[in-house]
């Protein structure tokens, strides 16, 4: 069924490009139809593979001989794959439906819908691959698709710059990923993921190999999932169309990094070094990006930083061995972040700007968007009974178990940072929520309240807010994923709720104190630092971009001053040579003959000398 879904997506992509330019109504239909078929297939896949004892299905066994370890073209669907496939195709279908209205009349719609289909197909391939290199194919296709989609409005400079940045940063990580695959494949004796997991469980991979392989693969994961130090591409990818942001942030691309760690968790778990570094990276990213989200002026940028921060939660859970917690948070984050982005798209569509200081007071004129986005923010902040509360509590539960009973020191780190960030998350969510929907309408010249968009855009919002509201049921009984819930940590729940309430209350208090103005103003001197995102881009500029430019200049100089000089020397040399030949060719037949005779005598002498073994 996965294959059928993949084929449907790819056919839709090809068809949209081939026939899409003839009629404006065809590409949306094709895109929605392809994603719809894929979604139906994924539901069947889910129904077949969910459950504690469901057996995984392996499709295909074509071997590609490489001279070393063979590459197997095989798909393997188990509980994790099925869940991810359902998440990816659901979000993709909703995004396709939403885009019909959001990008109506866009001249690049056919290629847009085709790339979205291809993007979804690549994600489905990544989550269902049973071979590291099949996974890598999907992984790289996603990279290219994200580049194309981020630069959808390529006439805008930020869109081009963001796309190039995203591509370069993820590619940088992917180099490590490739070599990590080599190391792990070589250690396990196979590139099949099921084989590698078995080998790791059977102890056939030594700790040393696991450490090197995991650290290398972590580079790719960090790049794809926008963790420190490759985190800055994700917020800069925001000039892309908002449905694309929903797709990238919720179901594909960044989710692939978390998925890979979850899939290969037995390998990562063999290496304490890899797990600890990943935990530290996750905590640094979590805290930093939550602070950046607090000061960002752009609605989509706030959401982007929140994605980075939430992904760090998942990594933190996985590094503590919390497989179920990490994956459940990935699924629940997929639902509420897609909701938040699509709702933000609805707001941006109506207001015409992404800047928070151009919004405000939209509660009355956009009630459906208001309610659904409130659900999204509540889920993000971890307010019960929304889905984010349960999955975040699961992660904090794993952290506290590790902190109080586990052997790893990183449990405390994750627990403390996780609680602080929970408060920060509540604060920035509340701030963005207040600034969008409450207070006076800022930056408005027309005086007409922006209207609610049509139901093509509101439908996906309602569907996703239903998922975000009711998803808690799924998280509490996660047996479909083949894992067991650890049980409630009542004290921890109370503490995290108190922290969330404190964060939200602080934001509301500052909002009221400042007279319905941006609560971030009370950050004081910290605000410009955070708004500049701790000058990380400037740091990268000084340490990477400028030396890179300098080296490029050196290479260019070498090309012009050294390599080109050889070519020029050839030119000059042949000119002089031709002048010499021309001087000899003066029309005097006797001189030609003289040259011939001298040559003949010279050859004769040479033959005489060499033929007799030298003048001895």
């Amino acid at each position: 069924m996965t294959v059928v879904g993949l084929v449907a997506l790819l056919l839709a992509a090809v068809a949209a490009v081939v026939v899409g330019h003839r009629d404006d109504r065809v590409p949306p239909l094709l895109g929605v139809a392809g994603s719809g078929v894929a979604w139906l297939c994924s539901v069947v896949v889910g129904a077949l593979h969910w459950g504690a004892n469901a057996a995984p299905t392996v499709t295909g066994s074509g071997r590609i001989e490489t001279g070393g370890l063979p590459i197997t073209v095989a798909l393997r669907v188990d509980q994790l794959s099925a869940s991810m496939v359902v998440l990816a195709t659901t979000v993709a279908l909703l995004v396709q439906v939403y885009s019909v209205a959001y990008l109506r009349g866009d001249p690049r719609y056919p290629s847009y819908t085709a790339i979205v289909s291809l993007f979804t197909a690549a994600m489905v391939l990544v989550v269902s691959a049973d071979d590291l290199f099949v996974l890598l194919v999907g992984w790289e296709v996603m990279g290219v698709c994200s580049y194309i989609l981020i630069s959808h409005h390529w006439e805008l400079e930020p869109a081009r710059a963001g796309a190039v940045k995203a591509f370069l940063m993820t590619r940088l990580g992917d180099i490590g990923l490739l070599f990590g695959f080599f190391v792990i494949g070589g250690a396990a004796g196979t590139y099949r993921i099921s084989g590698i997991v078995e080998a790791a469980a059977a102890g056939r991979i030594s700790g040393h190999q696991a450490t090197i392989g995991s650290l290398l693969m972590r580079c790719g994961v960090v790049g794809k999932s926008a963790q420190f130090p490759l985190h800055s591409w994700l917020p800069d990818a925001m000039p892309g169309p908002t449905p694309i942001s929903a797709l990238i942030h919720a179901a594909t691309m960044v989710a692939a990094g978390v998925f890979l760690v979850a899939r290969l968790l037995p390998v990562f778990a063999l290496s304490d070094v890899a797990m600890t570094t990943l935990a530290v990276i996750a905590c640094v990213t979590m805290l930093g990006s939550a602070l950046f989200a607090l000061a960002a002026d752009d609605l989509k940028r706030v959401l982007a930083w929140s994605t980075v921060s939430q992904l760090s939660y998942m990594f933190a859970a996985l590094t503590l061995g919390g497989y179920g917690a990490g994956v459940l948070h990935l699924l629940s984050h997929g639902a509420f972040k897609a909701l938040l982005f699509l709702a933000a798209g609805s707001v941006i569509h109506a207001v015409g700007t992404q800047r928070l200081d151009g919004m405000g007071g939209l509660r009355a004129s956009m009630p459906v968007t208001f309610v659904t986005m409130t659900v999204g923010y509540a889920a993000l902040a971890g307010v019960p009974p929304f889905v984010g509360f349960f999955s975040k509590d699961e992660i904090l539960g794993v952290a506290s178990d590790q902190a109080f009973h586990g052997a790893h020191g990183r449990g405390w780190l994750v627990l403390v940072v996780g609680l602080v960030v929970a408060g920060l998350t509540a604060a920035y969510s509340t701030r963005a929520w207040l600034m969008t929907f409450f207070g006076p309408r800022r930056g408005d010249r027309t005086g007409v309240p922006p209207p609610e968009p049509g139901w093509l855009m509101l439908g996906p919002l309602v569907a996703l807010s239903a998922a975000s509201t009711l998803g808690g049921v799924v998280v509490v009984w996660p047996s479909f994923l083949g894992v067991e819930r650890e049980g409630w940590h009542l004290g921890l729940v109370l503490v995290s709720l108190a922290v969330v309430a404190l964060g939200a209350a602080l934001a509301v208090a500052e909002w009221t104190r400042l007279g319905h103005m941006d609560p971030a103003a009370s950050l004081g001197r910290l605000r410009p630092v955070l708004a500049r995102e701790a000058s990380y881009d400037a740091l990268v500029d000084w340490t990477v971009v400028r030396p890179g430019r300098w080296l490029a200049g050196l290479t260019r100089l070498n090309e012009i001053e050294v390599v080109d000089r050889y070519a020029a020397a050839g030119d000059i040399g042949s000119q002089w040579g031709s002048r010499l030949v021309r001087w000899a060719h003066n029309g005097n037949a006797q001189r030609y003959l003289t040259a011939v005779v001298i040559g003949a005598v010279g050859v004769a002498v040479l033959v005489g000398v060499i033929g007799t073994g030298g003048p001895s």
Binding site: W583, H585, N586, G587, N588, A589, Q590, T594, V597
Partner: protein, 118 residues
């Protein structure tokens, strides 16, 4: 008679021929130099033929061929010289430079100072 005598004679003849061909300016004299070289070769052929006691006398036969071809060659050569004289009013080889690599102006990019007849 030792082989050395005819060989020395023919070498001297050949050398004189080469010198004439390379150094003289008159076309008829150059042709004569060519004849000298041919006959030096003929002398060699006959001398070696006698020295080897060749039963087929291949050297003498070849010498006869060379004489016949030399006669044809000198006829052709003199005809060319005659035509050159008719078109140029002289047969000075040094001044027959139409085949030189020229610039478009027609001047020979030559090292020597002799003027060119065109």
């Amino acid at each position: 008679m030792p082989l050395l005598f005819p060989l020395v004679v023919s070498s001297v003849l050949f050398g004189i021929g080469v010198y004439i061909v390379l150094a003289r300016r008159h076309a008829v004299l150059v042709l004569m130099g060519v004849e000298l070289m041919l006959n030096a070769v003929n002398l060699n052929l006959v001398a070696f033929d006698a020295w080897w006691h060749d039963t087929l006398d291949a050297g003498q036969v070849l010498a006869l061929f060379v004489i016949a071809i030399a006669a044809a060659e000198i006829g052709l050569g003199l005809a060319i010289v005659l035509l050159v004289f008719r078109t140029h009013q002289h047969v000075d080889i040094d001044r027959l430079r139409e085949l030189a690599d020229r610039d478009e102006t027609g001047a020979v990019e030559a090292d020597d100072d002799r003027s060119v007849v065109s």
